[in-house]
């Protein structure tokens, strides 16, 4: 203070009108020591039950997977953790290279050429993808499947409405859950900017006519957007090989904990088409060289799309994103490699299908509802047992198991149905315990 010639801190605030200064202290907690903070928060959090305390069969956009110790170690490196967006490329090569590798791995998984280094999550990525499709095609309608996560649909509506984009739903086949091509043909027109599907779908089945859907979209000059769960892409055909123009999805399951639903990691990739690439939202890292051409390096590319340069004409307002989650996913994918990712897909699909196999044997229980192949999630219907999902849930919880998500309000036409999720972390014993317990509950009715 003496150096800058002020006697009190208040002098530095002298320009703020007196009336705005707080005249009282705020209703905030008293400061605690580090030890007390730790005790306090640990005590609060110990009230939570975790998937280590009881088997939890929930998915629906946030999935329980194991996060290897190496991933945790790397993302806690403070050089990564405490850095900002790599504006100064020369001193941020580590982060830039890691994010370039993330983009590259996402491209390999999805068979696309360009990926950005993250969106907030799948839902907001969907909003951005639809707006991008509308800018690219200069059209203002999007067709989405009726079977879609309700939170993604709600998010899409908030993103689409100000851009005057109409969101229309395409019906599904009641037997199989598959998108109705007939309804799609009936609704698609020269107004359609994009057709969107999810694969696997929100209700867990594989959309098997993806290629045909893409062809219908393209025949009408619309873009084809596909939303993915990347853990399926070791065994399922990547969207780039069935015509997708934009691929979005949720990369949380690749190395990021559930964290009660956030942070998540939105995937965003597209084809190498300059019209599309220039309309992409978000940060993109590119390969370059030193000015003297001597060495390869990395820096942010195509910044002229972004808000700090283009302001109200930017392709998106996104600034801070989910970079460190992308680093976690990069480390995860590097650990698993091609072989590991294929095995991950196989393991999940085996276990989920084993669970369906056991549950479908229970009298009055239908698993899955749809006659289609399922990957890691599946619907379980209790109408035949005359039981409500809420009652099943309650009975399971009392026996130390957390059942699936109740979707009977979201899709009333499916009756008393829940969405179950099984991944590599669910042991055979836990799956069998679920089946046995459900069987008991149904028998007791």
């Amino acid at each position: 203070m003496s150096e800058i010639g002020v006697k009190s801190i208040e002098e530095l605030y002298a320009d703020i009108p007196e009336k705005y200064f707080l005249k009282r202290s705020l209703n905030l907690p008293n400061a605690l020591s580090e030890f007390e903070v730790k005790k306090h928060i640990e005590a609060l959090l110990s009230k939570n039950k975790t998937c280590a305390d009881m088997p939890i069969f929930l998915g629906a956009g946030c999935w329980p997977h194991y996060v290897p110790a190496v991933v945790k170690e790397i993302v806690q490196r403070s050089e990564f953790l405490t850095s900002y967006t790599p504006y100064q490329a020369e001193i941020s090569q580590g982060m830039l290279q890691a994010l370039f590798e993330y983009q590259s791995m996402i491209c390999e998984l999805t068979a696309m050429e360009v990926a950005n280094c993250s969106m907030y999550d799948w839902a907001s990525a969907l909003g951005e993808a639809v707006r991008m499709a509308s800018r690219v095609t200069k059209r203002n309608e999007v067709l989405i499947p009726k079977i879609i996560h309700p939170e993604r649909k709600a998010t899409l509506q908030v993103y689409a409405e100000p851009a005057e984009i109409n969101v229309k739903e395409v019906a599904y086949n009641r037997e199989t859950g598959q998108l109705s091509l007939k309804d799609l043909e009936g609704k698609i027109s020269e107004k359609t900017a994009a057709v969107y599907i999810e694969n696997p779908s929100y209700l867990g089945f594989i959309e098997t006519q993806a290629e045909e859907i893409g062809e219908i979209a393209h025949a009408h000059g619309a873009l084809f957007i596909v939303g993915v769960d990347p853990t399926s892409l070791g065994i399922l055909k990547p969207p780039g090989e069935y015509g997708a123009d934009i691929v979005i999805g949720e990369a949380q399951p690749l190395g990021n904990p559930m964290n009660f639903g956030g942070p998540l990691l939105g995937i965003f990739a597209c084809r190498d088409d300059q019209n599309m690439v220039r309309q992409m939202p978000g940060r993109i890292i590119g390969l370059t060289t030193t000015v003297d051409g001597g060495k390869q390096g990395f820096c942010m590319a195509l910044q002229t799309r972004e808000q700090h340069i283009r302001r109200e004409k930017a392709t998106s307002n996104i600034c801070s994103n989910e970079a460190l989650c992308a680093v976690a996913s990069t480390v995860y994918m590097a650990l698993l490699g091609s072989k590991g990712l294929r095995e991950l897909g196989e393991t999940i699909m085996y276990k989920a299908n084993y669970a369906m196999h056991l549950l479908s044997k229970i009298d009055g229980v239908k698993a899955p509802v749809f006659k289609s192949p399922h990957f890691k999630e599946f619907t379980v219907n209790f109408d035949g047992a005359g039981l409500k999902v809420v009652n099943i849930h309650e009975a399971l919880l009392q026996r130390g198991i957390h059942g699936g998500k109740d979707v009977s309000k979201e899709f009333p036409e499916l009756g008393e149905t829940a969405l179950y999720c099984v991944t590599e972390i669910h042991s055979k014993r836990e799956i069998e315990l679920l089946a046995k317990t459900l069987e008991e509950i149904v028998a007791e009715r």
Binding site: Y84, Q88, I91, A123, E164
Partner: protein, 510 residues
């Protein structure tokens, strides 16, 4: 001088060997396989992956070494001062990391029965209350993932408010000062508004006459940062608020600069209707190389009914997620927000309390003015706008005189600073300052570290006079020398993924 590690670390795709695996997954029992049968038989042929994945294949130690080397070629707040203006790069307390990494958060699913997540709901509920208290707003929504996401939500709420009043059709303008951050106009435009730019006056503040002339019955709202991006408090805030409110518009507060007024002055008391908070700036959570952060917003009572679902409610006994909000705008993302980040903010507030947060504000302002005072003495730098008055948390210098004399620009100074092991300030922002160096030291760097920064700038200014070539070619001590950023964006050379790079290489060398 500083020396950053210089590993010539190849892109990971060129490392490893086919068949290597760095992590073993749980096995699938034989009888599970038997019960399920032919797995690939379940997937219709046209949906099976045919072309093998081409991910790198490495052992666990190889993966660790690769990323350790990369981390050594990165600079963070723990490495040294990081005076990026507008970004509030303060120290991130380690205990907060430890707490947020606990399995009692990590292993909790967002759709779990409310009875099994009471601990985390209590933390989030209390954090909402504390942030409402700090911002002087009625209710807080924790869902936005970042500041810009909060802005988008805020702009959507402005939409919802005018729509509710039946005035959205005519209220299409959002007014934004020319000193604003790029996300403000981008967010307003994303929410469907026209952006009307309000010029600054000679003091670097909103030109009140221009504002008065710009408002009309088309005005939907004003987005303002206060203190603004020049580090100057908008003294006329009372009048500004009155003008906008009288015209029927709402006031939006960009909270990127909340740090210097924490627990001293509240945006709500200044008349703002919507306030976003950059948790990753003001509340000490790490930026993670670009994210994740969190951008909660606080709103006035009148706007609360439009907030996204669910709202966290407490009936005196337990916490619950309430989806029954007929006026809600819906959702702007999945689930409830960047919870792991929000827990760190909870720990931060708990560690500091009211007095501690106030001290954060005061020391951040003291540090900024200390650096300002030291740098003002340097030849070649000027301090446009209100140069005699103290600033708040940051100050913006122009290096135009130095550039005119020596050719050394703000960019060159930024690059040369890296050689000193000092992160560069924000450059070329705000746009109303030519050759801007925007400096925000924050409260967590002590006098010695500030002096180190000032000394580095002083030496660079001297070097610019004596040996400008040396400055122009900087940096020298970083992992890599000056990069050609234009090349990364040129259609011919653009390589945005390894796949794209290889395709270009193959085309060039058939």
């Amino acid at each position: 001088m500083y020396r950053q590690a210089q590993w010539s670390e190849p892109v990971i795709f060129s490392l490893g060997k086919a068949g290597r695996v760095g992590h073993i997954l749980p096995s699938v029992e034989e009888d599970v396989k038997k019960a399920v049968g032919d797995l690939y038989g379940l997937i219709p042929e046209k949906m099976r992956r045919e072309n093998p994945l081409r991910l790198p294949e490495l052992s666990e130690p190889e993966v660790v070494r690769h990323f350790m080397r990369l981390s050594e070629m990165n600079y963070g707040v723990d490495s040294g001062i990081y005076p990026l203006g507008s970004c509030t790069m303060k120290y991130n307390p380690k205990i907060n990391e430890a707490l947020a990494n606990m399995p009692t958060i990590g292993l909790v699913h967002p759709y779990q029965d409310e009875r099994t997540v009471q601990g985390i709901l209590e933390i989030l509920y209390k954090l909402e209350r504390w942030l409402a208290e700090i911002t002087g707003t009625a209710e807080v929504c924790l869902q936005p993932a970042a500041g810009a996401h909060g802005e988008f939500l805020g702009a959507c709420l402005i939409r919802a408010y005018h729509k509710h009043k039946g005035e959205l059709g005519k209220r299409q303008d959002i007014l934004i000062p020319d000193s604003a951050h790029g996300t403000n106009p981008a967010s307003a435009a994303m929410a469907g508004f026209n952006v009307v730019v309000i010029p600054s006056n000679d003091n670097g503040c909103v030109n009140v006459e221009a504002l008065r002339a710009a408002v009309s019955d088309k005005t939907a709202g004003l987005m303002l940062t206060n203190p603004n991006t020049l580090g100057i408090f908008e003294q006329n805030i009372e009048e500004i608020a009155k003008i906008v409110h009288n015209a029927g518009g709402l006031l939006y507060y960009d909270g990127a600069n909340l740090n210097p007024i924490l627990c001293k002055v509240r945006p709500g008391d200044m008349g703002f209707d919507i306030v976003h908070i950059n948790i990753h700036k003001t509340f000490g959570t790490p930026h993670g190389g670009g994210g994740p952060g969190a951008g909660p917003i606080g709103v006035s009572e009148e706007l609360a009914k439009f907030l996204p679902v669910p709202r966290i409610v407490f009936d005196g006994k337990s916490y619950r997620l309430d989806y029954d909000r007929p006026h809600t705008i819906g959702k702007i993302r999945g689930f409830y927000g960047n919870v792991a980040v929000l827990v760190k903010a909870y720990a931060y507030i708990l560690s500091l309390g009211f007095d501690g947060l106030k001290e954060v504000a005061e020391v951040s302002v003291l540090n900024a003015n200390y650096v300002l005072h030291k740098l003002k003495a340097l030849d070649g730098l000027t301090l446009p706008y209100n140069s005699e008055k103290p600033k708040k948390h940051e100050c913006v210098f122009s290096v135009k005189p130095l550039k005119n004399k020596t050719g050394v620009s703000a960019l060159n100074i930024a690059k040369r600073l890296l050689d000193y092991g000092v992160h560069a300030p924000t450059i070329y922002f705000p746009l109303i300052v030519e050759e801007a160096l925007m400096i925000e030291p924050t409260e967590t760097f002590e006098k010695e570290e500030l002096d180190r920064f000032v000394e580095a700038i002083r030496e660079i200014c001297r070097e610019a006079q004596t040996n400008p070539e040396k400055v122009l070619k900087a940096p020298y001590n970083t992992a890599i020398s000056r990069l050609d950023e234009a090349k990364a964006s040129h259609p011919k050379t653009m390589a945005l993924s390894w796949r794209m790079y290889q395709k270009k290489q193959a085309a060039a060398n058939p």
